[in-house]
């Protein structure tokens, strides 16, 4: 199964072809076929998971010529490592859940809706597996369009406003990225690189000014997607207006595209610039955490509250990533998955009560625990996962992020960010109290039915994962850590080189981190036999601008 990665990615497209032959009125068949396709995709992706070796290399790679237009050589170059692996699995895992959530929620233009969902899946998977910059860009754009339609056609009252806002924001970012991409390509050509292959560019030694401009362009595009303060205002609108499945996918996967973009592209391509901007980005991340929490606290619409909580959570992820150490980035990667699970679950929960009451205003609810005990239990578990209670997944990610960031130069940022754990408890428990506790005094709520079998089936896998990752994150961390160690080394080696060896003397294609011994356990062994790192440093660890000394 050498091309199982392609198979996973394009199975949904095959599903689309299948759907074309089904009459648009057989809604049941359309839904079931889509569900079937997404489940098969998930099962196929499990082959990737089981076959994945815990080392830092890209695996399941495929690399064939694709488009050659003048000087532009684009290749179909794909592969995954520990960083993208879990995001691929997260995507294939969340899709059946999202499809299942639409069974009663969407009743108009079902066929088109299902086609959108499947196209979206291919777009997201493609973006995570691309090792060719141009291929990545194509998939990145492919994702955008189905999402735009999902908000614009099946959305709520202000759907057009939200869709346009979503489109404009993301488009601005995409355009900047495209320009930067093409510029980078020409820079590469000067150094003898012949195609858009990402790995080629890792060895490209750019001068600081170029790095800064390119980093800013990429970072801007990704920051919109994350979204980072102050570019976040499209998110609450998009989330509130999007149908439940749209919100779930948006939160669970699409936002990760931004953070993934930093980890996969912006940081390893432009490590010096990334280090230079780390304090700025950390500042924005921390503002995002506090700001979004405060704004979430005063929301009247449950869905908007969850949307703002997303901004806060992604702020944690960004902080972890820019700690540039194993703990921080591992925490950030883990938190991407955790956020996908918990916030995805929260949007599903909001969807359940919205379907029943056609309102999302917190004041319309109260005392639902009495009427819906199963719902109450699940809501509570997810709430505490979102708050990061130890024993749930949210804690492991948040803790590693904060620990990693505290060890790095971002110590003061971390202290402010840690206060976010207080605020998250405030807004989540407050909304939980107002929706679930108190007297069941609204007559419209007194006849509400508890979750049905389908709805419980949607939530159970998420709840299981909440506890599994919370109590035994080892399999997740073990698979992602080699790739993360490699990334950490890339960032740090670069900064050592920048200090130790003048730029001009660097031969293109110097012994980059690709030559790292596969599966090396951690940074500690890095200096051994690595010419680039033989710089006086503490006997231990980071051979860098040791962040501990950079108070």
């Amino acid at each position: 199964m050498s091309n199982v990665l392609s198979l996973t990615t394009f199975l949904p497209i095959l599903g689309v072809l299948l759907l074309l032959f089904i009459p648009k009125d057989s809604k049941g068949v359309l839904r079931n076929v889509t569900l079937g396709v997404t489940i098969v995709t998930f099962l196929v992706s499990l082959i990737i998971l089981t076959g994945f070796q815990s080392n830092a290399e890209f695996q399941f790679t495929e690399n064939v010529p694709w488009i050659a237009a003048g000087p532009f050589i684009m290749r179909y170059n794909i592969g995954i490592d520990g960083i993208s692996l879990w995001l691929v699995i997260l995507t294939t895992f969340i899709m059946p859940i999202a499809v299942l959530s639409t069974y009663t929620a969407v009743d108009e233009k079902v066929k088109e809706y299902m086609i959108c969902l499947l196209l979206l899946e291919t777009g997201m998977l493609g973006a995570f597996i691309s090792l060719d910059l141009f291929l990545f860009y194509i998939f990145w754009e492919v994702m955008l369009i189905p999402m735009y339609f999902m908000i614009g056609i099946w959305g709520g009252k202000n759907k057009l406003y939200a869709a346009v806002k979503f489109f404009i924001y993301t488009m601005v970012g995409s355009l900047l990225m495209l320009v930067a991409l093409i510029f980078l390509y020409f820079k590469g050509m000067e150094a003898g690189i012949t195609d858009f292959g990402l790995l080629n560019f890792f060895s490209l030694k750019l001068d600081m000014a170029t790095q800064i401009w390119l980093f800013l362009a990429f970072a801007f595009a990704f920051a919109i997607k994350v979204p980072m303060f102050p570019l976040h205002t499209w998110l609450p609108d998009a989330h509130t207006e999007a149908p439940t499945a749209g919100s779930v996918i948006l939160a669970a996967v699409l936002l990760k595209m931004g953070t993934y973009g930093y980890v996969r592209f912006a940081i390893p391509l432009f490590p010096d610039a990334a280090q230079k901007f780390a304090p700025l980005i950390a500042t924005l991340a921390v503002i995002g955490i506090i700001y979004a929490a405060l704004v979430a606290m005063v929301q009247e619409d449950v869905k908007k509250l969850v949307a703002y909580s997303s901004v806060a959570h992604l702020g944690f992820v960004m902080l972890g990533i820019f700690a540039f150490n194993t703990e921080g980035i591992t925490g950030g990667m883990l938190q991407m998955i955790n956020h996908g699970i918990s916030t995805g679950a929260l949007f599903l929960i909001v969807g359940f009560i919205y379907e029943r009451r056609h309102t999302r205003l917190i004041t319309d609810f109260g005392g639902l625990s009495k009427q819906m005990p199963v719902f109450a239990t699940i809501f509570m578990i997810v709430t505490f996962s979102s708050v990061g209670l130890p024993g749930t997944n949210g804690f492991v990610g948040e803790f590693l992020i904060l620990l990693g960031a505290f060890e790095s130069q971002l110590r003061w940022w971390t202290i402010v960010a840690t206060s976010g754990v207080i605020l998250s408890a405030v807004y989540m428990l407050w909304v939980f109290q107002r929706v679930m506790f108190g007297e069941l005094d609204n007559p419209k709520n007194q006849k509400l039915s508890d979750l049905n079998v389908r709805e419980v089936a949607i939530m159970v896998p998420l709840v299981v994962l909440i506890f599994f990752i919370g109590l035994y994150p080892k399999p997740f961390i073990d698979k992602m850590e080699p790739a993360i160690n490699k990334l950490v080394a890339q960032v740090h080696v670069s900064s050592v080189n920048a200090q130790a060896i003048p730029d001009a003397e660097m031969p293109a294609g110097h012994p980059g981190m690709e030559q790292m011994p596969a599966g090396h356990p951690g940074m500690e062994q890095l200096p051994a036999g690595h010419p680039a790192v033989e710089v006086p440093s503490s006997p231990h660890a980071e051979p860098v601008v040791n962040p501990h000394e950079a108070k």
Binding site: L178, T233, L294, M297, L400, L403, E407, L429, L440
Partner: protein, 664 residues
């Protein structure tokens, strides 16, 4: 037996899962309650086994670590799901499982007929599991699971009557205040971990490893920062100034919860944590002083509020805050084993007091219900003379009250007197000692006063309950009174385990038991201790006599005001209306916090949302969008609404751009 330590938290977990998942279907109260009680009792048996084995070992072999499975490993960081068995954790598991078993048993009777009976027992088991993780955790992170886990259970159980708004509010308040403490705990953990790691390449959160490396820690400096952060965590969990206001509100939960969580176990977690890391805390003289001062101040402050409350459970709640203050005072003056000793005796007598008050409320509620009266079953002004109807409750309650008041011969006397003596004679705080002692002694006087006020108002005098209901008052069933009798006995005699050396009748078993745990801390402390004049035995006897006298004065005042001349309290209130109002309203601390923190936060959130997000950011974006829209009229016919049109135009755009670069 040590190897089976993992069974101790496992049993209650099994109980939680059975009752939580199937309790609703089981329905039978006897089975649900039986499973819950049995599970924690099994843990108690295992704990006894461990205690027995440990007694048989020489002191230096009394440390054992059991790794159950690897938990979080990333980079340098390593935390396993692992348990630590040592004399300190054994004391704690004995208290938690022992008192816990009794309270589970009691709950079968007390919660009889309540809606969600199964839910109650599931939560109670979950709590026990978390508490056991907290005290058994061999690293800070496992402790932190328990630390937040007990906070969660406290939240769930305070909010047990979730249809009441006050219960929901109290639950949230408790959790959030605890979270403020948790923030401190985390920062403390990070600081310690980072400092040892980056300076000495010891990356650890394991208690024994930190202990082994503790000689590397400086006195003061970074240790002060870290320990103050940890102490913030302790003030949240253990309801000390400034984070104490959640505990009295927590009385919204069912009474067994108040006894187990908000008196005997969870709230003592902060004290335990300081004990567990005493070798770090002692390295910062400043932190030690802060702990002692906060402890003494809380002991006195909470005691003043306790004197004016009419709700029987609220009096006990403030009393708990005050007694916890004593424990912190002990920790702050370096009398670690005295603090843990008071933790234990307090668990006995305070659990007994809460359960006794529950027995009273149970009976009151029943009687008032019979005559359809809506009088408050917890208000002491509706009680009086109950000793005749409820003799067992009365006697156990009285014994515990004597114990908490510090009358010689009862458990509270030994532990409290030891703390007072140490706060006077410790070598760390110089002239501050006399102030610490003074606060402690004054609080002792108030304690004796408000506790006997409670006893007199509840059990003595004439019965003020609705006349029709009087005949329905009755003693509670055995399932309730048996735990009362056991705890009452412990409250009376538990103190003999830790008799002061001065009296010389029995060796201080308790202190010897904990010696190996605190030895190192004492050694660190001695490096900066100021050894003044040797204090004579005569002085120690004198102070002991003085503290007994003080307690008797408190009791005497209570007797005069609430038995002899019952008009006095009314006159007192009339004479000092402002003072009474302030004390009765808890010195307006809640209102102050609302004014200072809660309301500004909400207002700021509103401002950020409506002012910044909507007005500024969106204003800019919409402005840009509108400009674009102006042009879009021209392009409107391109908007066909078909996906392939959009895809086509996008591809076209890409081609055009590429073309530009190729042929430029």
């Amino acid at each position: 037996m040590f190897d089976n330590v993992w069974l101790i938290p496992l049993f209650p977990l099994i109980g939680f899962l059975i009752n939580g998942l199937f309790g609703k279907k089981i329905k039978n109260e006897a089975i649900i309650g039986g499973i819950g009680t049995l599970m924690i009792f099994l843990s108690f048996l295992v704990s006894c086994g461990i205690l027995m084995q440990m007694i048989g070992l020489p002191p230096e072999q009394r440390v054992f670590e059991k790794v159950v499975f690897p938990w979080i490993h990333s980079g340098h960081f390593k935390a396993d799901m692992a348990f630590l068995v040592d004399p300190l954790s054994v004391v704690m598991i004995m208290v938690v499982t022992g008192v816990g078993s009794l309270i589970h048993l009691y709950s079968i009777g007390y919660m009889h007929g309540e809606e969600g009976f199964y839910r109650f027992f599931a939560y109670l088991n979950l709590f026990c599991m978390s508490m056991l993780l907290l005290v058994l955790g061999s690293n800070m992170l496992v402790m932190f699971i328990g630390w937040e886990g007990v906070g969660l259970c406290s939240y769930l159980l305070i909010g047990y009557y979730f249809h009441k708004k006050s219960a929901g509010d109290a639950a949230k308040k408790a959790f959030v205040m605890n979270r403020i403490g948790d923030f401190g705990f985390l920062i403390g953990l990070f600081t310690l971990y980072w400092w040892l790691g980056s300076n000495h390449n010891i990356w650890t959160v394991n208690f024994m490893e930190i202990k082994a490396a503790s000689h590397l820690l400086p006195y003061g400096g970074v240790v002060t920062v870290a320990t103050l952060c940890f102490f913030l965590g302790a003030t949240g969990k253990s309801a000390q100034i400034p984070l104490f206001t959640w505990l009295p509100d927590a009385m919204e939960g069912p009474t067994p919860v108040s006894a187990l969580i908000h008196a005997a176990t969870m709230v003592t977690a902060g004290v335990y944590m300081i004990g567990r890391m005493s070798f770090v805390f002692i390295k910062s003289p400043d932190t030690m002083m802060v702990i002692a001062v906060v402890g003494a101040a809380t002991a006195l402050f909470a005691a003043t509020i306790g004197t004016a409350q009419n709700d029987i459970k609220r009096v006990l709640a403030y009393s708990t805050v005050s007694q916890l203050g004593y424990m912190f005072l002990a920790m702050g003056v370096g009398a670690f084993s005295a603090g843990i000793f008071h933790l234990m005796t307090h668990a006995f007598f305070k659990a007994c007091l809460f359960l006794g008050s529950g027995s009273v409320i149970h009976s009151m509620h029943h009687a008032l219900h019979k005559v359809h009266s809506h009088d408050d079953a917890q208000d002491m002004r509706n009680m009086g003379g109950l000793r005749k109807a409820m003799p067992i409750t009365f006697i156990t309650f009285l014994v515990s009250t004597i114990a908490i008041s510090g009358i010689p011969g009862f458990s509270g006397f030994f532990s409290k007197d030891e703390i007072l003596w140490q706060s006077f004679s410790n070598p760390y705080h110089g002239n501050l000692n006399i102030v610490l002692w003074g606060f402690g002694a004054a609080a002792a006087c108030l304690t004796a006063f408000y506790m006997f006020r409670l006893v007199f108002m509840t059990f003595f005098g004439e019965c003020r309950i609705n006349p029709g209901a009087k005949s329905y008052l009755h003693e509670s069933p055995l399932v309730i009174t048996i735990p009362l009798m056991v705890l009452g006995t412990l409250a009376a005699f538990g103190g003999y385990l830790g008799m002061p050396k001065l009296m010389g009748l029995l060796p201080n078993y308790f202190e010897h038991w904990l010696d190996p745990v605190f030895e190192l801390s004492t050694e660190y402390g001695s490096t900066y201790a100021q050894h003044g004049d040797h204090l004579s035995h005569g002085l120690e006897w004198g102070l002991m006599g003085l503290s007994v006298l003080i307690a008797i004065i408190g009791i005497g005042i209570a007797f005069t005001m609430y038995v002899q001349n019952t008009k006095l309290p009314g006159k007192f209130v009339a004479t000092f209306p402002a003072l009474h109002r302030a004390v009765y309203n808890k010195w307006y601390v809640d209102e102050l916090y609302d004014y200072l923190f809660v309301n500004p936060c909400k207002a700021f959130g509103q401002f950020l949302w409506k002012g910044f997000d909507v007005l500024i950011v969106d204003g800019v974006v919409n402005g840009v969008a509108n400009t674009v829209m102006g042009f879009s009229g021209i392009f409107r016919y391109l908007q066909s609404g078909y996906i392939y049109n959009y895809a086509f135009s996008m591809a076209l755009g890409v081609v055009v751009m590429l073309g530009y670069f190729i042929f430029k």
